[in-house]
Structure formats: structure tokens, C-alpha cells
């Protein structure tokens, strides 16, 4: 019965409770990401973390990366944008959703999390482990789902925050809900002067930029059984950069990035047992870069990237009884990309169906089995099953386990890139372009030799992984919750460039092939404890090993060599010297303390996040991470915040991020020094609220 109750609106009760306490472990938290419907967190057999709106506010987080950087096992990575590493996977392998709908705009693989303001969200849900069984491509390492506020009551709020680097954030929300109609709107402007960790360089580490986010949601109850919601978002960011050139003639670069989406959702409750959801999702992303010579303003270059995504989807849920729930869904995706390095507009269509069966054979056992079938013309169809189960041994001990398949489709670059570097002379072709590209070069007499079997042109498969997650949830005493998780991901068919031909001038032609194999495995520990009524303490730790399987084999075979930096003489790398994939910390931990007293209005937090040393480069010509000089040292950041609320209406908050001003200009450009900020927020509520 629990599920049905939740569906018909107990959600609001939980949320009302959540407002009053930070002791989330004691609450029946509700998440949607794991099943695409509201489910109680404690029933779900997969590893999920939920970060509540309350916690986000207490941290003083502004953008999604601020939120994720403090969560156990997550590392923030900068690679053509700010992304998140989950279970040792690069940001390309985590799907980012807003209310269950995917964000697009991975022009170079990473979806930039700084695009996402977190001022109007209810919670952030993070699923670790593949979720392709529900979401398809990209959900290989996990899913981050931003759940926005639903219109609730009649209220409005405004927040102004100012801090170091002339960073100003202004937000406003409006909520209106009466009877059948609900409206909410959110607007935000974020602007900063950026910062410069290496003042002697003329290029700033982060150049000044500003952005606007507008978001709104309308809900309407057409009848007791039929509900409509329409949400939309618009984001635009503008940044001016300075760029040196080899010719010592610097450039002014202007970059404009925008995205929009619209998401009407119609739900109809046919009966107590049958519910259908019809969703439409349309979204667009565009980036334009313009390069002008600083000296005389003349044109140097310009690039653009323009992506669109449209998807209708129908999902049907059948509640046979409280122990058996069936979900069936399907849809079609139309995707297009136009970009500077593609021939013309590239189109991509995917048809998919998914199903899920939630079964509770006995009270203590909860099983979810599901799978999704994706059919796309550019690669072989993918079936992604997932099976997970949780067994509650007793009141204080639960065991869970899951096995799932995840995939990541070849991206637009890997399929359609058509690029020749005019200065150096090499060429890179996507798999759908390589045959024609080689032919063109051959016709011009530029090809000396083809290095691969031309029959392999155009052959590409998605990258795939099989993941195993095991977990124990412990509640030894009332106020203490502990989670232990073990994970292993076996990844195959990783896509990388490979030489396909040699040109007469000695340059090479590259294309993309499924050539890599890797694994990641580790342990995750999480504990949270409620001390007194107002204080919650949590700690988290992740141990991670992430390695290239081919490198491991080559090391065993003694086929990997390095050069001694002093003599430059070649020696052999021994297997135990291998440090795994770059950018992965073996050890990461965080400790957080939150205080919130609703009577006095005081609140605060002290948080520390440690990221252990990680590899950044190859220094000794071995091609792998195997020497101490190839690591960036581990570091910790300490963040504090303090707030006071007056008359439940005015909230003053001040904070300091990176208190000890830790920076590493050479290797961690994304880490600014100490940031001090203050904010003032005003909330106005109508008397009849709630």
C-alpha cells in the first residue's frame, strides 16, 4: 500500500517534515531516479545518495558542482567543462537529468555542471552504478537527477549573495498554488570576475563571465485523475577570454553558451491500479566562439556547436497489488547536431522500450528487475538489463546487491567528425565519415598507405560495462546510520582513436575504434549520526582502483618501458608500479557537520573534503602512470558557513569556502583560493500557506 499512498500525495507530508530537521536519516526520503516513479529511499536496492534542499542551502552552494564536490565518492573533474567522476568513471559516463530529463551539450564529452543553478531545487539524487536499464545511453557510471520544486503554497523569495572575486548571485522564486493550478518561477543571475592563479600570465585562470537562468513550472489538475505539468528552462552565459597565440598576436575570444528545454507531462490515473504518464521533452544547446585579433579587431576564427533533442515518451505503471508493480515505457529520440567540424547537420534517431518489475515476495525482500532496449541506426542495438534486490535481515541490518549493464553510445564526434589540422597536417574522421574522407584524400593523391582493413570503416559499437554493487545498511543505534558499499565495473569497447592511414607528408589519419578495456572497483563507507536534536555529523570515504586492462596485461608480459630521467636509459616498468588511470584518487573522504536550530534561528556548517593524490601525466615516457613525479599531491578543503533567520522571513548567511586558501595553479585550475561570501534572503509567505 505504501507506494499507492505515496503516489496520491503523501510526498507533501514527508517534505513538510523534512523542512524541520536535517536528520534525513530518520525520514522516509522519497526518490524518483531509481525507478522513474516516487519510491521510498530505504526500499531501493541500489546505491543512492540524496542531498536535500536544506543541506544545499546550509552549504551555501550555488551551482551543481558545489553540491556534488562534497559528496562521498564523487570527484569534480575539469575537462572542457566541470564534470563529476562517479565510481572512477570520467564525466562523459554520468547522465545529468533535470526532473528525469537529460541535459545535452557535451561538445567535448563533459556536461558542464556550472550551467546548473541550484536555487530552486527540492533535492539532488545521485545513483551510483549503471542505470541504462531505465535511461539508456550515458547512464553507465550513474545518474545525477536534479529534482526541482513543485509549486506549493503562495510564497516568494529573493536572495542576494556577494563574495570574493566580485562574485554576485541574485535569485528570486515565486510560488503560487491554489486549487487546481500551480505556478512556480525561478530566476537567477550569476556573475563573477573570475580569478587568476598565475598573475604573470596574461590569460586569466578563469575569465569573467555571467549567466542567467530562468525556470518555471505550471501544474494543473485537469481532474482528480489527470494532471498536467509543463516545465521549462532557459540559460545563457557569456564569457570574454584572452588567448595567446604562437605568433604572439593575442586574441579576444567571446563565448556565448545557451540551453533551453520544455517538458510537458500528462499523467492519468486510470484506476487505483493503472497509471499512465505521457512526457514530451525538447531541448537545445548552442555554443558560439568568436576569435578576433586583439591588436586590430580583425577576424581570426569562429566555431559553433548546436545540438537539439526531442523525445516523446509513454510510461505505464500497473500496480497489481502492493507486492507487484509493473512499469512499461517507450519512446523515440530525434537528435541533431551541427558544428564547425561536422560536414552538415547530423541526425540521430533512437527508438527504445523499457520495462521494470518491482516485486516484494515477502516483507523483507524487495526485488527490482528491468531492462531497456535501444535501437539506433548508427550502432548495434543495445539491451541493458539490471537486477537488484534488498533483504532486510532485521530492524538494523539490510543487505542489497545489484548487477546491471550500462552503455554509452558513440558520440557525435566519434561518428561524424571531419577534421584536418591545417598547421600540423593530421586528420581525424568519425566512423561514418572515414570511408569518404580517405577516398577524398586518395583522390587527391595524399595517401601513402592504408594501415587497417577498409572493411572496418564505419564499424563502431557503444562502450559497455557490467557493474556489480553490494551493500550493507546498518542502523546499530537509533541515531546512527552506516552504509558500506562494494563496487566493480568491467568496461569494454572503450572508444579511442587509432591510425587508419598514413599521408605522404608523414602525418596520420585517425578514426575511432572500440579498443579499450578497463575496470574500476572500490569500497565506499558512509556514516551519519545525529547528535542532539540540532546537529548532524556525517563522514564518507571511498577507496578506488581504476585500471586499463590492456596495460595490466602488458605489464605482466613485461612490455611497458620507461626512461630513467637521469640517464634517459630505458628500463622496464614492473606491474606494481602501475598507478591506474589518470585523474583518479585512490582515497577520498569528507567529514561534515551541520547545525540547525529552528527555535533560535541559528544554523551553520563545517565541512571538509579530502582528495587523495592522483595522476596527471606521464613524465618518464612509459605512457602510463607509474612514477611518483606523475601525481598531484592530495589536498583538503575546509568550508564553513553560518546563518541566522529572523522572524522566519529574513535569513542572513555568511560563509568561507577553502578557508586555508589551498591552491595548485599548475594542476588544479578549477580550485580558486579562499572565497568569502555573505548573503541575505527574504521569504514571504501567504498566511494560508500549508
Amino acid at each position: 500500500m505504501k507506494y499507492i499512498l505515496i503516489l496520491i500525495g503523501l510526498l507533501n507530508v514527508f517534505l513538510a517534515e523534512a523542512q524541520d530537521s536535517l536528520r534525513t536519516s530518520e525520514l522516509e526520503e522519497v526518490v524518483v531516479s531509481a525507478t522513474r516513479s516516487e519510491r521510498s529511499l530505504s526500499d531501493l536496492p541500489v546505491p543512492i545518495m540524496v542531498v536535500s534542499d536544506k543541506q544545499i542551502k546550509s552549504m551555501g552552494a550555488l551551482r551543481l558542482n558545489d553540491v556534488l564536490t562534497e559528496q562521498t565518492g564523487l570527484a569534480i573533474i575539469s575537462d572542457h567543462g566541470t564534470g563529476v567522476q562517479i565510481q572512477g568513471f570520467s564525466p562523459d559516463y554520468t547522465l545529468i537529468l533535470i526532473d528525469g530529463e537529460p541535459l545535452i551539450g557535451r561538445s567535448a564529452g563533459t556536461l558542464d555542471l556550472t550551467r546548473l543553478a541550484v536555487g530552486n531545487i527540492r533535492q539532488v539524487e545521485i545513483i551510483k552504478g549503471p542505470s541504462s536499464s531505465l535511461y539508456g545511453t550515458e547512464a553507465l557510471a550513474g545518474v545525477v537527477n536534479i529534482i526541482t520544486d513543485n509549486p506549493d503554497g503562495v510564497n516568494g523569495s529573493a536572495t542576494l549573495r556577494y563574495g570574493t572575486n566580485n562574485t554576485m548571485d541574485v535569485s528570486g522564486t515565486v510560488n503560487y498554488k491554489t486549487g487546481k493550478l500551480g505556478l512556480s518561477a525561478f530566476a537567477n543571475r550569476y556573475g563573477t570576475d573570475g580569478y587568476d592563479l598565475v598573475p604573470e600570465n596574461k590569460e586569466k585562470t578563469v575569465s569573467p563571465f555571467y549567466n542567467y537562468t530562468l525556470q518555471s513550472k505550471i501544474t494543473y489538475s485537469l481532474s482528480g485523475r489527470t494532471k498536467l505539468s509543463i516545465s521549462g528552462r532557459y540559460f545563457v552565459e557569456s564569457q570574454d577570454l584572452y588567448e595567446e597565440t604562437l605568433e604572439n598576436d593575442p586574441l579576444d575570444v567571446s563565448s556565448v553558451t545557451s540551453d533551453w528545454n520544455i517538458n510537458p507531462v500528462l499523467t492519468h490515473q486510470f484506476s487505483d491500479k493503472l497509471k499512465a504518464t505521457l512526457r514530451f521533452y525538447g531541448t537545445g544547446f548552442r555554443n558560439d566562439m568568436k576569435y578576433l585579433y586583439k591588436s586590430d579587431g580583425t577576424y581570426y576564427d569562429s566555431t559553433f556547436f548546436d545540438q537539439h533533442f526531442y523525445r516523446p515518451e509513454l510510461q505505464v505503471e500497473y500496480f497489481l497489488n502492493s507486492r507487484n508493480i509493473f512499469t512499461l515505457g517507450g519512446g523515440r529520440i530525434w537528435e541533431t547536431v551541427e558544428a564547425t567540424r561536422f560536414n552538415d547537420m547530423m541526425k540521430y534517431e533512437t527508438d527504445y522500450i523499457y520495462f521494470q518489475y518491482e516485486w516484494k515476495p515477502v516483507d523483507k525482500l524487495n526485488i527490482i528487475a528491468g531492462g531497456r532496449y535501444d535501437n539506433n541506426h548508427a550502432y548495434t542495438p543495445q539491451f541493458s538489463p539490471k537486477f537488484s534486490a534488498q533483504y532486510d535481515v532485521n530492524e538494523w541490518l539490510s543487505l542489497r546487491g545489484s548487477v546491471g549493464v550500462g552503455f554509452r553510445a558513440p558520440d557525435f564526434r566519434q561518428l561524424y567528425l571531419n577534421f584536418t589540422n591545417n598547421t600540423v597536417g593530421y586528420s581525424v574522421f568519425g566512423t561514418q565519415e572515414v570511408a569518404a574522407g580517405i577516398q577524398r584524400l586518395e583522390d587527391r593523391g595524399e595517401i601513402k598507405a592504408i594501415r587497417v582493413d577498409p572493411a572496418s570503416f564505419g564499424e563502431i559499437n557503444p562502450e559497455k560495462s557490467i557493474a556489480y554493487n553490494l551493500g550493507i545498511r546498518l542502523k546499530p543505534v537509533d541515531k546512527l546510520t552506516m552504509n558500506v558499499g562494494l563496487f566493480r565495473n568491467d568496461i569494454k569497447d572503450l572508444i579511442d582513436t587509432q591510425i587508419v592511414a598514413e599521408k605522404n607528408d608523414g602525418n596520420f589519419v585517425y578514426s575511432y575504434y572500440n579498443i579499450g578495456r578497463a575496470f574500476t572497483e572500490g569500497i565506499e563507507l558512509d556514516a551519519s549520526y545525529s547528535l542532539l536534536r540540532d546537529i548532524s555529523i556525517s563522514a564518507g570515504y571511498q577507496f578506488l582502483i581504476a585500471k586499463d586492462k590492456d596495460v595490466v596485461e602488458d605489464l605482466k608480459a613485461g612490455k611497458i618501458y620507461k626512461r630513467d630521467p637521469e640517464t634517459n636509459i630505458t628500463t622496464r616498468v614492473s606491474p606494481d608500479e602501475y598507478g591506474g588511470l589518470l585523474d583518479r584518487s585512490k582515497h577520498m573522504f569528507n567529514v561534515k557537520l551541520f547545525y540547525e536550530n529552528s527555535t533560535s534561528g541559528w544554523g551553520g556548517s563545517i565541512r571538509t573534503v579530502y582528495r587523495g593524490r592522483y595522476g596527471v601525466m606521464d613524465m618518464n615516457n612509459s605512457g602510463i602512470l607509474d612514477d611518483d613525479s606523475e601525481y598531484v599531491e592530495g589536498y583538503a578543503t575546509f568550508n564553513v558557513s553560518l546563518s541566522k533567520t529572523f522572524y522566519e522571513m529574513v535569513r542572513l548567511q555568511a560563509g568561507c569556502d577553502n578557508v586555508f586558501d589551498y591552491t595548485n595553479p599548475e594542476y588544479i585550475a578549477a580550485l580558486p583560493g579562499r572565497l568569502v561570501w555573505i548573503s541575505v534572503g527574504i521569504t514571504l509567505k501567504s498566511k494560508k500557506n500549508n
Binding site: 598507405a449 630521467p565 634517459n568 630505458t570 628500463t571 596527471v616 613524465m619 615516457n621
Partner: protein, 211 residues
């Protein structure tokens, strides 16, 4: 052309113990261990002419002898030629073999190529890597690839193994900040390498018969 050539000649040493007690009149040939010869800062600065080198002589050969079989290998920038095919009148040939210099005790019997449209010894992706505009590490540097041994036949068909150590003057440590900075990086086009030349015609790189 003022060649800046500094040669270190390591003399073949120590006959095997088993033979050391034998007196000199003994007709049995002496088996001696082959030792690597180091060549430092071989200048390949010219952009027009190759610096020609003879393993047998362990010295640079004048460009006036380029049409003879007196030289085995030539260097011009990153390009390496062998005295064969399109590069010269000799019978030199070569290949890149993966492994450790000291562990390569025997030259392969086949797999040798002569210079043609393609050089027998591949440059980029062969003996060296050009770091280009690398995100990390030294930019625009030529770094010899670890574990690549040049196994060559000389112009006379004798076997040589060569390990290229550096492309920069003074065989510098390439992991330092001084090397990373283009302003302080030592001059390029100066080869440092070591080689073992087997002059008895066999493929053995460990010992030779001293007669």
C-alpha cells in the same frame, strides 16, 4: 661544417674467466664481451645535409663520401636514414624492436627494411614522440620512445643495436621545469645514443671473438 662531436670509446674488456688463464700463444680465439659504445651530442643541426655516421669507425663520415658504403646511418633533425635504397648505395637495413637494450642479445634474422618512400626507421610514432601542445609535461618536445631499439645492418651487412637517449644537447633530464620552459631548454638536434656493433657478422650482441 664544424661538427661538434664528442666520442667516448669504451674498450672491449675482460675476456671470460675460463679463458683468462690461457696464455697468449694458445690458438683458441678469445671470446670477449661486447660493451656498449656511447656517442654524445652528435650534431644534426644542418637542415640541408645529413650527418653521416659509421658504426665501424665510430665516427662521423664526411658528406663528400655520401655516395660510398663508408657510412651506415645519417641524421638530419628527427629524420634518420640508412645507407640503402633511396638514401645511399650501401646494404644497410633496419627495424625498430621493442625491448630493453641490454636484454636484446640476438638480432632478429628478418624484418629489416631499407629506405624507400618510407624511411626504414620511422620518426614520429617510431623512434620518438612529438609532444606538441601537450596539456601536461613539456610542450613541443621530441622525446625518444622508451623501449624502442634500433636494430640495424650496417652498409656492410653487420648487425648493430642502437638506443637513442636524447635529442637535446647534453642529454638533459626532460622531466624538469627547466626543460619544460622553451627559453631554457637545451638546443635540439643533438643526438646522444649508445650502440653495440657486432663485427663478426653474427647476430650475437653479447660476445664476439677477438682474433
Amino acid at each position: 661544417m664544424n661538427y661538434f662531436l664528442k666520442l667516448t670509446y669504451v674498450l672491449p674488456v675482460a675476456a671470460l674467466a675460463a679463458f683468462s688463464s690461457c696464455d697468449d700463444e694458445n690458438d683458441e680465439p678469445k671470446i670477449v664481451q661486447l660493451e656498449a659504445v656511447s656517442v654524445s651530442d652528435l650534431n644534426s643541426v644542418s637542415t640541408s645535409k645529413y650527418t653521416l655516421f659509421s658504426f665501424d669507425e665510430n665516427s662521423v663520415i664526411s658528406n663528400t663520401d655520401s655516395a660510398t658504403a663508408d657510412w651506415d646511418i645519417g641524421f638530419r633533425g628527427t629524420t634518420i636514414i640508412l645507407n640503402s635504397g633511396t638514401s645511399g648505395p650501401g646494404n644497410a637495413a633496419g627495424q625498430l624492436v621493442d625491448g630493453i637494450f641490454d636484454e636484446l642479445t640476438e638480432a632478429p634474422t628478418d624484418g629489416y627494411a631499407v629506405d624507400g618512400d618510407t624511411k626504414a626507421i620511422t620518426g614520429s610514432g617510431g623512434w620518438y614522440t612529438y609532444t606538441g601542445d601537450a596539456a601536461t609535461g613539456p610542450k613541443h618536445a621530441i622525446l625518444p620512445n622508451a623501449g624502442k631499439i634500433l636494430v640495424l645492418k650496417t652498409a656492410d651487412g653487420e648487425y648493430v643495436k642502437v638506443e637513442i637517449l636524447s635529442y637535446y644537447q647534453g642529454n638533459p633530464n626532460t622531466t624538469t621545469a627547466e626543460f619544460a620552459d622553451l627559453a631554457t631548454r637545451p638546443a635540439s638536434r643533438y643526438y646522444t645514443f649508445r650502440f653495440i656493433h657486432q663485427d663478426d657478422g653474427s647476430t650475437n650482441f653479447e660476445t664476439t671473438i677477438d682474433d
